[in-house]
Each structure stands twice: as C-alpha cells, then as structure tokens.
Amino acid sequence: MSMMQQITLGQYLPGKSVVHRLDPRTKLLMAFGFIMVLFIITAGWVEYGILGLAALLIIYTAKLPLGMVLRGLRPILIILSLTIVLHIFSTRTGTLLFRLWFLEVYSGGVNQGFLLAARLVLLVLSTSVLTLTTSPIALTDAIEFVLKPFKRIGLPAHELAMMMTIALRFIPTLIEEAERIMKAQLARGADFESGGLIKRAKSLLPLLVPLFISAFRRADELAMAMEARCYRGGDGRTKFKVLRYTKLDFYAWTCFVAVSALAFYVSYAL
C-alpha cells in the first residue's frame, strides 16, 4: 500500500460538478463561515443534523465518493474516540445510566461526548470538501485574496500565498521521492521496522539524508527557474486566471445564508 493512498486530507479530486465550478473565494469563505456557524450555535442534535444534511448534500452535488471523504476522517479517529470517552466519564449530568466498578456513566455525558465528536466531524468534513473540490492553485489564489486587506498592516499576502502554492505543489513530489528512496534502500537490505528506538531512528538516516538533499536541490532549481523568468514578488503582477464571481456563487451564497439562518433559528429562537 503506498503512502499516497492514505493521505486524503488536503487532496484534490478534479471534477466538473457545480461545487467544483464555484469561485474558490466562495468556497474558502463558506468553509470558514460553516465552521463559525458550527461554533456559534448551541450544540444540539437538530442543529448539527441540519448542518450535516447540508454537508451531505454538498458532497452529493460535488459527486465525491463518500468513502473517500470519510477516509479523510481517519487521522482524527483517535481524537474523536478520546473526546467521546473523556466526556462519557467526566460529565455528570442527566440520569445515571450504569456503573462500571468505580466509573459512573450519565446520559448527559454520552450526549455531550457524541455532540462534540459530531462537531469535530463536521469541521473536518467542511475542510475536506473544500480541498477535494478546489485545486491547490485556485485555493491559494483565494487565500491571497482574503489576506489582501491585511497587507496594510504588513502581512506579505502574495509571498505567503506563493509559499503555500509551492509547498502544496511539492508535497506529492516529496512523498513520491521518499517512497522511491525507501524502496531503493529496502532493495539494499535496509530494515526500517525492527529494533529499538535508537536503532530505528538510525535506520531512518539512509532515507532522510537523500530526501533532504533532494529537497534542497529542488528548492535551488526552482529558485533559479523563477529568477530566470524574472519573478520579483507580487507588486504589479497580473493574473493569468482572473477570479470571477458568477451566478453560481450567488445561488451558493443564498443557500448558505438560508441554511445558516435555519440553524440559528433552531438554535436560539426555538
């Protein structure tokens, strides 16, 4: 099994769906807004149900394979179980459900634990959907746009966005490279798995040294190539792909506002 397959978080799945075609700024701000709503509304099953349904609808519209989206949750499985377990054993509200030796489990704790877990799941889902449907380049364009107002207080928006673009661009390359070097050393009888901590750390050297050397070489080559094409930062730089809002974005925002309003209504007015 290759490493590439295990990393779904931050991966882009090209497509032509409505969600894919939205302006990246819309998607970025919506994901951000979704998370805000998630934290502002009071935790409750109806509220989270509405948001969860909206998320599922978006996943369906974007034609994302559900299995792949759910696989993005794998890295937070430990945090999720920890959240649930801690709440079950520490919150003492509601009725006493059962007693396990000295541990007492209350209905409030179970409820609270699962609600918080649901919030975490929704949080990760919203960012997964964002990255799965938005190419890294479009995403950094959007980030640059969002950061632009902060330029006045000295935030290097363009440089940050460029750094992100480059980092995102090279993550798969470096993973591939790591895999290749690992295989090359395995072919020479290297053993990355057995032995104690020190032996295992030492066994990583034949992997890490070539990987760092190649990363530095790539950085060097890239810097040279950018300079050769007269790159000199963001001032006066125009864009090849100019971001433009369309009707789609308008509809999307309408839906977003409607869903948020509904969630707020359920949360505070009822």
Partner: protein, 287 residues
C-alpha cells in the same frame, strides 16, 4: 535463481479514483546466466515490472516465483530474497547517503550481516567492477560527478553479491562517455561473474549490442520476447510502440527500400558497414 511471472497484473492505487493498471497479464521467465533487455516507452511499466522481481511490489493478481519462492506467500523472507536479486533503481545516485563512498557501498553487505573483513574486500571489488579507482573510497559521494555517483550506487548493489542483477535505466541522463563506460562494465560483469543481468532501457542503441534476449513492453503488456535480431526485424511496428530501431538497422532499412541487397537488421555500426560495403561491391560488379 530462476524467476517466473505468471499472469501478473498490477494496479496502482487500487480502489481509489486514481487507480491505474500498470501491468496486464504478464507471463515471463528469466533463466540463470541470461542477459535480458527490457525495453519500452516511458510509462510502459518497466520499473513496475522489475520491482516485482525482488518482492518490492507484489502482484495484484497472478504469481511471481523467485527460486521456487512465491513472493505473495505468507511468511516469505523478502529480505533474503532482496539480497539475491539486486535491483539498481532508476537515478540510483539519489539513494546515496553515507559520509564516504566506502561506507555507502558497505551499506548493503552490512545489512546482510557480512563480517567486517569481508565487507572491505567486497567494497574494493565492487568499486573496481564499476571502474572506479580505489582512491575515491574516502571521499564524500556528494562531491563526485553524476556519472561517478551512479557508479557508486551500482557498486552498492554489486557489493551484496547478488545472483541476479537488475538495472533500471542505468544510463539515463548520462553523457555518451558515461553511458558507454557503464554499459561495457555491465557486459564485463555478466561475463566474469556469470550472473543473470536484466537491463531496463528505453533506448534501443543501449541494449541492441549487449543482450541475448529482448523483451518489449507496451502499455503494461509484453509485445515481443525474442532475440534482438528478431525484434528489430519488426522495425515499423516498433515505431507504433514509441520505440525506434538502432541507427545501424535504420540505415539498412532505408537502403533496402531503395533496392540494395543488404540484410534487414544490423546490431552494430560495424556490422552495418560491412553489409553496405558488400552490397556496394555487388552493385559495382553488376553494373
């Protein structure tokens, strides 16, 4: 160390949207002492194929049997298998990591648990085998030239004394001199040690003169498995697989089309020259 592949399929990233079938229904076997070339366009599956041969990749379907061991069987000792089947990766110089050339070449035998005294001997032997002077031993591998680094990497695999040596595009990115040097060393090795050599390449010029048997792969499938002469006789269909024939053969083909009495295939320039001279004299006599 005979190697046998039966009905081998291999799929990268199976089950994900990025799924990609790299090998389809491969049947192939390698006998002891053979010198085999594997040739195909970039992306045809050559690297995937050779990684099957020492268990780095395992077939999605079908079986790979190395010296009677099936690589997909439970509890098979892949580490010992990898010592018998040495694989030099594409751009092998990127695997160098140690402070000195000697230490890097010694990495393989050390992992094998070879005693220190023997390691030193093996390192010297391997460096000589790839045509590097022993003075180089205490230098850092990173201050060598690209061609020298490549040869250090090959020596690193040779030092494990493999019974089968697989080289994945050992000449890619080298200048003509570096290329000829490495190829002639490989031929020497095959002759001296009598080991099986599997040479992967996308260049006909490289393999034509060296190998006894040529396997042509296209789109993950084997399209030819024959002697170089037999393969090159299919000049035009090779072009559809993105491959050319050696220049010597190409020239003869052009002459033949003009009605010259030359054979269809020549593997070396010398062979082509003799054939052309003979045909020329024949024409003069007729005229």
């Amino acid at each position: 160390m005979p190697i046998k592949l039966e009905q081998v399929d291999f799929v990268y990233a199976g089950g994900s949207p990025f799924e990609r079938a790299a090998l389809k229904g491969i049947n192939l076997s390698f006998l002891d002492g053979e010198f085999v070339g594997i040739i195909g366009q970039t992306g045809s599956g050559k690297s995937t194929l050779v990684q099957m041969l020492n268990g780095l990749l395992k077939p999605t379907r079908g079986t790979v049997t190395v010296n009677g061991l099936v690589t997909t069987a439970k509890g098979v000792k892949l580490k010992s298998l990898r010592q018998e089947v040495g694989l030099v990766f594409q751009f092998a110089e990127y695997q160098l990591f140690a402070e000195t050339v000697a230490a890097d070449v010694a990495f393989g035998p050390e992992n094998q648990g070879v005693p220190a005294s023997e390691i030193a001997e093996r390192v010297d032997q391997a460096l000589l085998n790839v045509g590097l002077p022993l003075e180089i031993k205490e230098r850092s591998p990173f201050e060598l030239s690209g061609g020298q680094m490549r040869r250090v990497a090959i020596a690193g695999v040779l030092a494990m004394n493999p019974k089968v040596l697989i080289l994945d595009e050992p000449t890619a990115g080298l200048d003509p001199r570096g290329r000829d040097e490495i190829l002639s060393r490989i031929r020497e090795l095959h002759r001296q040690r009598g080991i099986t050599v599997i040479l992967v390449s996308h260049s006909m010029e490289d393999v034509a003169r060296l190998v006894d048997r040529l396997v042509v792969i296209h789109g993950g499938q084997i399209v030819y498995d024959a002697t170089p002469r037999e393969v090159f006789a299919h000049g035009s269909s090779l072009k559809t697989y993105g491959l050319g024939v050696p220049q010597a053969t190409e020239v003869l083909g052009l002459l033949k089309a003009k009605g010259w009495a030359v054979p269809e295939v020549a593997l070396t320039l010398d062979e082509a020259r003799q054939a052309i001279v003979r045909a020329y004299q024949l024409r003069r006599e007729l005229a």
